[in-house]
Symmetry: C2
Subunit: 247 residues, 2 copies
DNA sequence: ACGTTGAGATTGCCG
DNA sequence: CGGCAATGTCAACGT
């Protein structure tokens, strides 16, 4: 039986699996999809169901008791007191969602225009592989150490005692985020720690590029000699197709 | 009009807000809850809707077009080609979900039995406040430096060059997780960095306690002198009530 | 209201 | 299939 089934029922629910959970008696929506997944919704709390079972799973249906289980030993038990409605509809396959404006797109635009991050910066490689994961952008700064002279002293990297690669020239690792928090700074720090073990790259410094950077992330980044650059998505998209803005 | 509304409709959808997204024409379930939130489901893909708008938001309904918007400028537009079904039900307030087995419970059990983490360890305080957030457990090791002698050399902390408080006695900061990843190591590292600025506590070392620890997290933790302890939830619960296991 | 943290996170990607 | 990182993460809680 293909299609989606909607049941309004007064029920209690028990889940045993990754945790134990229980729902007292109340009227709720039971949503059974074609893939067998079941979700139990109340009339609030946005889109997240109170309980659910993700596919693949099997539904065993008795008159007053549904038992949904999967191969990992998780069990969802729905004890049905009364059914108020029970309808089914065949929806067919969904053509799917198209998205625009996510981190991947921001990374593409920055890869095409690394100079936005810092004048003269050139892209070496996107998704540069390290043994702890890929760095979003690895760039090279032809100006090298000379660059530091032109920077405001307040933005200059700390002295050589820093724990990560806080230097002022050569290679540059860029972490791209839509919204950057302290975790993004830690992530970039890990990469820098790793990249600076490579004698062919060392010294490598870091740039955190995001549409928005949390204040605490900015403080942490600067204390580690990591530059923060806030990028404007629309403006960047304009640079990507400059011929469109000529007239 | 209180209650939940279920509409089966052929529609296209556009979302503009944190990103841009579009859904081509297809038949879907539109779920409108009493709080005004709207979610659009296909017949698959677990419980997450294809598109949605979380409350608070307002729904403006025209014959062939629903417009859902919030105060942050996000807009969800549903162009309705045909309505196949449209039913409403008043579900009433839900008494809510009870849970057991989450991190908070694991933290309680470890607070009551810190010796599980390391013989002799004593609890100083749960949720010990620092200015960058609370440490799950702050403990004290009466054995102090003498402990290191009994440890396997392979597990011994690194030399004093480590960037965070990787020492071998006195106070111990414990980070509790159900599943620990590298981010948990970073989190604990930040706390250690902070705690070791306090002369009354220094030196403070770290223990990462979790039901499961990712291999990369283990490597990173040990490179920073942080001990990893895998705890068994059921076993720990047994220790909490030892009188029940006497016979 | 804002920030921080946990979550049965889910989902997609790539090894 | 397992590890890893992004997500319009969401939701709960404390300040």
């Amino acid at each position: 039986m293909a299609g989606m089934r909607l049941v309004i029922a007064s029920c209690t629910v028990d889940y045993q699996g990754r945790l134990d959970a229980h729902l007292p008696l109340a009227t709720r929506l039971l949503l059974v999809k074609a893939d067998g997944s079941v979700s139990i919704h109340s009339d609030g709390g946005a889109y997240k169901p109170l309980n659910w079972m993700t596919p693949p799973c099997t539904l065993a249906e008795e008159p007053a008791r549904w038992t949904v289980s999967n191969t990992k030993g998780e069990v969802l038990t729905i004890n049905i007191e009364r059914i108020h409605a029970d309808v089914s509809h065949d929806l067919g396959l969904d053509p799917g969602l198209t998205k625009d404006g996510v981190e991947a797109h921001l990374q593409e635009l920055l890869a095409a225009n690394p100079g936005v991050l810092e004048s003269g910066l050139r892209l070496v490689r996107r998704e540069y592989a390290t043994d702890i994961g890929p760095v979003d952008l690895l760039c090279h700064d032809p100006a090298g150490r000379a660059l530091a002279i032109t920077l405001d002293p307040a933005e200059a990297p700390p002295t050589a005692g820093g724990s990560v690669g806080a230097t002022d020239g050569g290679y540059v690792a860029v972490e791209v985020k839509r919204r950057a928090g302290v975790d993004a700074v830690d992530q970039l720090s890990r990469y820098l720690e790793r990249l600076n073990l490579d004698g062919r790259l060392r010294p490598v410094r870091g740039i955190l590029a995001a549409q928005a950077i949390a204040p605490q992330a900015r403080v942490l980044a600067e204390s580690r000699g990591i530059r923060c650059v806030v990028v404007d998505y629309d403006e960047l998209q304009g640079k990507a197709e400059p011929e469109l803005t000529l007239f």
